[in-house]
């Protein structure tokens, strides 16, 4: 039996995926297969490597493609990675070590910013890697000590195949956010959280700062808001609401302070603390990157990320649940991920 089945949903074989394929061939652990699921049949030269297969799915959402991939999978463990990510050389050997050490049914690892991303993409990464943006979930973007988790994105998620089958795989009505629902189903079924470990690393290409980055953030916010409404178990956490309170406070603060002028000092005091914290973080990144430009990108990037996420979280939270959202962006790739 093969140990790992790597499942990659994609609309068509794009340049990101070609890089991913090249890196998968370099893995130091060889007992795996790769199942690529594009919309249409595609010819691709895998250089006679029998571990790679292409299964056309027709137009389908990533959740459906991943479910289909799992049906073809011969591996003991399903490894989900996005087409626009690629693994570190020891990705599977490290995952293997964690599974042996912990016996967990599922495992998540960090999705870091690739070193060869362009400056604007790197700035998006720096914003996501900041505590001011990702709060306690910063371990999703950078290596942090191992911990128990109950939610993790499919950009770098391993699930034992029998566990995946026991919960019926991904619920296809949910996209984006099907990974949150899968994790919730797994945690409920096994009555315990699963493992995050920093060792199995993938590199995830970021969106460029500002517009593409903020578009992605708006989708994250909307989906998390919707999930906070319908799945309070893992998505109704105070940290997810903070940006929305910030947006409300920012716009409604002056109105309230006009009625109660004593509140002005709290309003401006709060803003001073906030922008000082953002400024310090932007300075830290600018020093690390040795770039004055980085200061501006990170400063405005964090602020606009908070505003965008906070606003769209409220939209998602207040709107009647509508599970399937727009599948592709203007480039023709999946708009999520």
């Amino acid at each position: 039996m093969i140990k790992y089945s790597i499942i990659i949903p994609v609309r068509y074989i794009n340049d990101f995926l070609k890089r991913n394929i090249e890196e998968l061939k370099q893995l130091d652990y060889k007992d795996f297969e790769v199942i690529i699921l594009p919309d249409e049949p595609e010819e691709f030269d895998f250089e006679n490597d029998p571990r790679f297969s292409v299964i056309p799915t027709g137009t389908s959402h990533p959740a459906g493609k991943r479910n289909l991939g799992s049906l073809y999978a011969k591996g003991e463990i399903l490894a989900f990675i996005d087409d626009d990510a690629y693994p570190a050389k020891n990705w599977l050997s490290m995952a293997e070590q964690v599974f042996e050490e912990t016996g967990t049914y599922a495992l998540g690892g960090p999705a870091m910013t690739p070193g060869d991303d362009c400056f604007k993409e790197k700035m998006s990464g720096r914003v996501l890697e900041s505590y001011l943006t990702s709060a306690k979930f910063v371990y999703r973007h950078l290596p942090f000590p191992p911990r128990k988790i109950n939610d993790f994105p499919t950009v770098n998620l391993f699930v034992k195949k029998d566990a995946f089958e026991k919960v019926g795989g991904f619920l296809q009505e949910f996209w984006p956010g099907e990974d949150t629902k899968l994790c919730l189903d797994l945690v409920k079924f096994f009555k315990q959280d699963f493992v995050y470990d920093p060792r199995p690393i993938v590199y995830h290409h970021r969106r460029e700062m500002f517009k593409p980055h903020l578009k992605q953030i708006s989708r994250y916010g909307r989906h998390r808001g919707q999930f906070a409404r319908i799945f309070p178990e893992t998505s109704r956490l105070p940290a997810f609401f903070v940006p929305s309170f910030f947006v409300l406070g920012l716009w409604m603060g002056p109105l309230v302070a006009m009625l109660l002028p004593v509140l002005w000092k709290f309003y401006f005091g709060g803003l001073f603390v906030y922008f000082t914290a953002v400024g310090l973080e932007a300075t830290r990144v600018a020093i690390k990157e040795r770039s004055i430009r980085a200061f501006g990108f990170v400063y405005w990037g964090i602020f606009l990320t908070h505003i965008t996420y906070g606003f769209y979280f409220m939209v998602g939270f207040l709107k009647r649940p509508k599970y399937i959202s727009k599948a592709v962006d203007s480039s023709g790739n999946y708009s999520e991920g």
């Binding site: 290596p143 942090f144 920093p198 690390k288």
Partner: protein, 86 residues
Amino acid sequence: MKKGQNEFAISSDQKVRIKVIKEKCISAGTCIVYAADTFDLDEDGISYVKEGIWDELEKIVMAAKSCPTMAIIVEDMDGKQLWPLE
């Protein structure tokens, strides 16, 4: 060049030596997660070996194993490579 970068640094108890191949390091930082008393990142984000008392050998080897580019070499004082395995 910081300690341990492209040349072996020896532990204070003279039991193990470590080298970080500077050109391979990509600042992933997993070494710090597992052996924070042994490794740190310099101003360029490149891993180096710290002064003082290091972590236990098990943690150091774990840190080296976790490096996604295998930039860390760990040897005992007889020159036997503990990681990467030869």
